[in-house]
Symmetry: C2
Subunit: 335 residues, 2 copies
DNA sequence: TTGTACGCGTTATCAC
DNA sequence: GTGATAACGCGTACAA
């Protein structure tokens, strides 16, 4: 490997001058800058990051630990957002995936510490509560899409209540008055908060118990969540006879579309449909295209990095705030 | 930050002994090991990776450059596979995402070089040909899900011809004799190869031109690929009247299911359906569940790392081989 | 089994 | 503007 000293020799200057050129420090004669740059090119020199890190205080490394995040298409965007913001701020993200079979956060955190990461972002697959050991307090840490069971970290989560509230309001504005909510597993935070928003919107409009219906489209058997949208949707459509259906996720909206068609109705004309996620290509591929509340994963990823950097500047480790990021309606054709 | 010397002082040994304990070198008195470990715990010492990398030849870092890979749900698995294998082999993956707006592979490669990565994996979003500058030859490099236009790198791609061949054979075995192939954009390598496999299987069964029909479900307008499965499927179903349809991707199979139902047919009973991808939850959510050729992304990711390490061992930089990874049929209920 | 001298490639300090 | 020299935290070689 080519070192700074070899470059110095070829360029005919001291190695410190080479260092100045490499780091773009001011105060080097343009003539020498040229000589050094020529030598660098000739030898194919690359600065050794590790050696530089030994001396510098700033490593510019941020650790990103993901709880299976990168296998979940919807929330891959978190990683993308974090990476983009990190790049803009001159930081490098070191990404680690938790092994679902033996999830040992602490080991990965250890890895980040050894690399002298300046902070950690922990991203979860879905909005949930997670328990962290004390080792996580060694560095500024930001949680994304989850909260700590001990509530001792800065968390960035989607504002699910606002999402439920907003989309319901939109349905009501458009004149729908008999709304069924096919909600996710009620154990999930998102499901609870969306339901609260849903009910709040209905109340504001003066609707009462008989005007809405809530069902769950997920059943948990042996720790596995199974999707029962098809049966539930058919049942609700037949018995409750809604004029609009709010669905817990885009994927399940596929089943809902089928159920509606099978009963001879037309989505968007006879029955309005709304959903949550804006999961990649699914809303566009459905006919009519699905109007859905987009979960702001990309923005959350960006925010995580910028919040982390703010924490470091103000050196306020103990910021235990909850950042709720608003969800936007992707308005298409289904209601 | 705590250093090895401070640990040595507390433990009452020389810092070299601490180094031995940390690196698990043999030949330290158990008594001293205990003393050192106690001191490490007490001080909260973490080895400084950067400092160690300066001295060691092996950095154990592999660079992973992804062409928007991590936003594509189907191929996120490549990253996951690479990460798992890297972890098993004691390597750390440094992940970089290409910015789709200004894709500059070389800059990210430079970054990897500065970190003294031992090799590079370049992953693409879909099976395609990519052009690389000469800088990519400074390190052992493996391409995943793409090939080089100059054909000068080791590539790992799905065996799309085998996939097309195998699934068609299965359709034929089950007795289907009038098969429509709703293929992807014919500019895509995968589409071409699958079609070859499709035709090969038909020929082997002695079927002729009138027994199959090939249509494309993607239209390119202004550099954007738009999905026209719905119209195409309805047309093909009405005019060609197939007894089975092979679909280019799971997502489009959703449209196909709708088209089939609207014409009063039942998927799996009246018309068999097969597809490509095994894209997350989509095959399971459809009714009946979709039988589809799974693209072996996870395996490809694993293979990329192991091949890279093999290249390094044999120091055969110029291996310009094409590794085709077989696809497996996920047999469900749709044919 | 343990410790010392030295070097890795870089940045920081300060004198020239 | 420039260049010695020290220092960073650790591994290697070899001596004790």
């Amino acid at each position: 490997m080519v070192t700074i000293k070899q470059v110095a020799e070829i360029a005919g200057v001291s190695f410190k001058t080479v260092s100045r050129v490499v780091n773009k420090e001011p105060g080097v004669k343009p003539q020498n800058v040229a000589k050094v740059e020529k030598a660098i090119k000739k030898l194919g020199y690359r600065p050794n990051r590790a050696a530089s890190l030994v001396r510098k205080k700033q490593t510019n490394i941020i650790g990103f630990i993901s709880d299976e995040i990168s296998t979940t298409p919807a929330s891959v965007a978190i990683l993308k957002g974090a990476q983009d913001m990190a790049w803009e701020k001159g930081k490098t993200l070191m990404v680690f995936n938790l092994d679902p079979k033996k999830p040992n956060k602490d080991k990965l955190y250890e890895e980040c510490l050894q690399h002298r990461a300046e902070g950690i972002i922990y991203g979860a697959m879905y909005h949930q509560a997670v328990t962290f050991s004390d080792i996580f307090k060694s560095l500024p840490t930001v949680l994304v899409n989850c909260i700590s069971t001990a509530d001792d970290f800065l968390s960035i989560v989607p504002d699910d209540e606002q999402a439920g509230y907003y989309v319901t309001k939109q349905l009501l504005y458009k004149g729908y008055r008999r709304i069924a909510f096919l909600n996710l597993n009620p154990n999930i935070i998102a499901a609870q908060q969306r339901q609260r928003g849903f009910l709040k919107a209905l109340t504001e409009f003066g609707l009462n118990n008989s005007d809405y219906h809530i069902a769950t489209i997920e059943k948990v058997v042996d720790d596995k969540t199974i999707n029962i949208t098809r049966e539930v949707a058919e049942d609700v459509l037949k018995t409750f006879k809604p004029d609009a259906v709010l669905c817990g996720k885009d994927l399940a909206a596929i089943n809902l579309y089928f159920a509606i068609e099978r009963l001879g109705f037309k989505v968007g004309k006879d029955i309005g449909v709304a959903s949550f996620d804006n999961w990649h290509d699914i809303p566009e591929i459905l006919d009519p295209q699905l109007s859905t509340m987009a979960l702001p994963y990309y923005e959350m990823g960006r925010l995580a990095v910028s919040q982390l950097l703010t924490m470091k500047q103000t050196s306020s480790f103990t910021t235990q705030t909850l950042h709720k990021v608003s969800c936007l309606l992707c308005d298409r054709k289904s209601f």
